[in-house]
Symmetry: C2
Subunit: 357 residues, 2 copies
């Protein structure tokens, strides 16, 4: 890790998600990335920003989010320039999001080297994380490569996509980085078990590293129409006109993920298999797995929560709320504002049903 921050390094935090699986803690008004799920005083997006400190200068940190979250982002990340908060007028998946911010960065620095990360994941070993990211940034600054971070799978998880590495082909300049053989959608359990056994598969963390010229060129090849929209805007990035034109043209972009649009098609795709205590914390259950629990397996957030004869529960509430729970085993008790949810942890896949108005 460099002690002098490379001024070409840029960070893109994608923060447009709505986190519906964490209802009622996560709501459309304040989705998961803006919540302090662990009660540490830092929200997911703040923890995401924090783990790049020393690698990327604050003025090179970009957030792409929905227009309605502009205020929350500015409030939670006061260190970054407000003009670095890019606002999507509508949701169009990750490819348009990445295209927009890539051209925006290119307009400022054509030598930029970029890390793209989700805003609502957890990393527990930040030292190792920084080593892996710094090593990847060095690699992409010297090659026209796209690097994905692949997580060493610790269980046959069916909730993640997988990356198959060609372990016979480490790259020449970085022996920890391998060519990607294929990307796999979320598998069923039997397939996931096969993946684990073969030792060639890694969880797709959704963290990507590339130079701005690499990603822009890839988008020009695989998404020419989308690319034209953002290329045409080159003269007005950073001006007063940017938002109005984005509001007009962004909705014309195809709704497509960067995985599908570029990663699965491009040639120079690599994976850096790594171990830095990563979780997408995509469900209450995953939170229960990673968050600290008491001797009875309860994970409690809230200053005034008392449990009697309760086990394997997640109890999340606000600081002020007084909560007494007796005789529950394996439940979620989540209370926020004017909403209370009590449901079996093993029924959490139905939260969308429960939260329907």
């Amino acid at each position: 890790m460099a002690t002098q921050i490379n001024s070409n390094n840029n960070l893109v935090i994608m923060a447009g998600g709505v986190g519906s699986r964490f209802w009622p803690m996560s709501t459309t008004e304040c989705p998961k990335q803006f919540i302090d799920v662990f009660g540490t005083g830092r929200t997911f997006i703040q923890m995401t920003y924090d783990r790049f400190k020393g690698l990327i200068a604050p003025e090179n940190v970009w957030v792409v989010t929905s227009r309605q979250y502009a205020g929350i982002v500015a409030e939670q990340l006061p260190e970054i320039p407000k003009t670095n908060i890019l606002l999507e007028p509508c949701r169009r998946n990750t490819a348009p999001c990445i295209a927009y911010v890539s051209w925006r960065i290119k307009a400022k620095n054509s030598k930029a080297n970029i890390v793209v990360t989700p805003s609502d994941h957890l990393v527990t070993d930040v030292v190792e994380f920084q080593r892996v990211v710094a090593s990847s940034l060095k690699f992409t600054s010297e090659t026209d490569s796209i690097v994905t971070l692949g997580m060493n799978p610790t269980r046959p998880e069916t909730g993640y996509g997988y990356i198959q590495a060609d372990l016979m082909e480490p790259s020449l300049s970085n022996k920890e980085i391998y060519r990607v053989d294929s990307f796999k959608e979320k598998p069923n359990l039997a397939t996931a078990q096969k993946y684990i056994k073969s030792k060639e598969y890694y969880w797709n963390s959704g963290i990507f590293i590339w130079s701005v010229s690499t990603i822009v060129n890839a988008l020009r090849i695989y998404e020419p129409e989308m690319s034209r929209i953002f290329e045409d805007m080159l003269p007005i990035y950073g001006t007063d006109k940017e938002q109005a034109i984005i509001d007009e043209r962004f909705p014309l972009c195809e709704n497509i993920s960067i995985d599908y649009a570029v990663l699965e098609k491009a040639d120079e795709i690599f994976v850096f298999p790594a171990n830095f205590g990563w979780s997408d914390v995509g469900t209450w259950g995953s939170l229960h797995t990673i968050a600290p629990t008491d001797a009875q397996g309860n994970n409690v957030i809230g200053n005034n929560v008392k449990l009697f004869e309760s086990r394997n529960c997640i109890v999340h509430t606000t600081e002020e709320k007084r909560v007494v729970v007796q005789g529950l085993d394996g439940y979620i008790v989540a209370e926020k504002g004017d909403t209370l949810l009590i449901c079996r942890l093993d029924e959490e896949q139905r939260i969308k049903e429960f939260s329907a108005e």
Copy 2:
């Protein structure tokens, strides 16, 4: 029932309880008698007042309560004169409460005829209730008798006291009224079952009817010290000085129930066995028994409560709160202000433990 209200009829509503068994709906700040438990728009004390309409004039309705509830009583019962709200400076059980209000009424009308009632019970058949009370008032206006209302027991309830009637001795002037043989404390289950079988026992409703001279004379005999305190105050009842003197002298009274002080000792004690759909609603369980439930046995108060796969639950919340409950059987979910309780219904006797700060 008289169409012309007898101006000697007085009603005493005892409203000093703290209703700790209904936490968190009932709190020291706003105990059970002041809560709209059924979501009907009327609180227990308001329902209590309502069921005497036409029998007792509003200016003859008295409420004895704690000083801290003066404001709530005045707000919830705007029909009665504020000077009829008597404030106990401390809790001293029912005998001092009844002594105070009895001398207070005597100072105003020595011919007064009085019904004393708890403020937090439920009566479903108000027509029959009024018939029984009117009949009892007629009886006590003509005799120096104390009448208790005994409820026909429908189950071997161990949470109530019982009154044993001498069914061979109906009174001469009212064939529905019998001499009391004995008062029984809350029995164990086997004893309660014996009571039911014998058909001589009735639940003690805590509703008493007597003339002011009868109760004052009885207190003079059985509680001479206590009686002297209130007798001495005769010149200042209804004056500016009343509250200050009460604050000084009321705490000197013995802490004793009217049952123990008078009823169990006096001679002319009668019981009127009756059936008017009575419950003391003393526990969440009793509420669950009497309140309307859906097909799955759930009793729900709250405008925005959704239940999935839940049975035999009590869910009580405020109007504004959105609550989703999934997969609970036999639980209380009660939410009020900044407090939430979730516990098994069959563990509700531990609510004091749960609610301890």
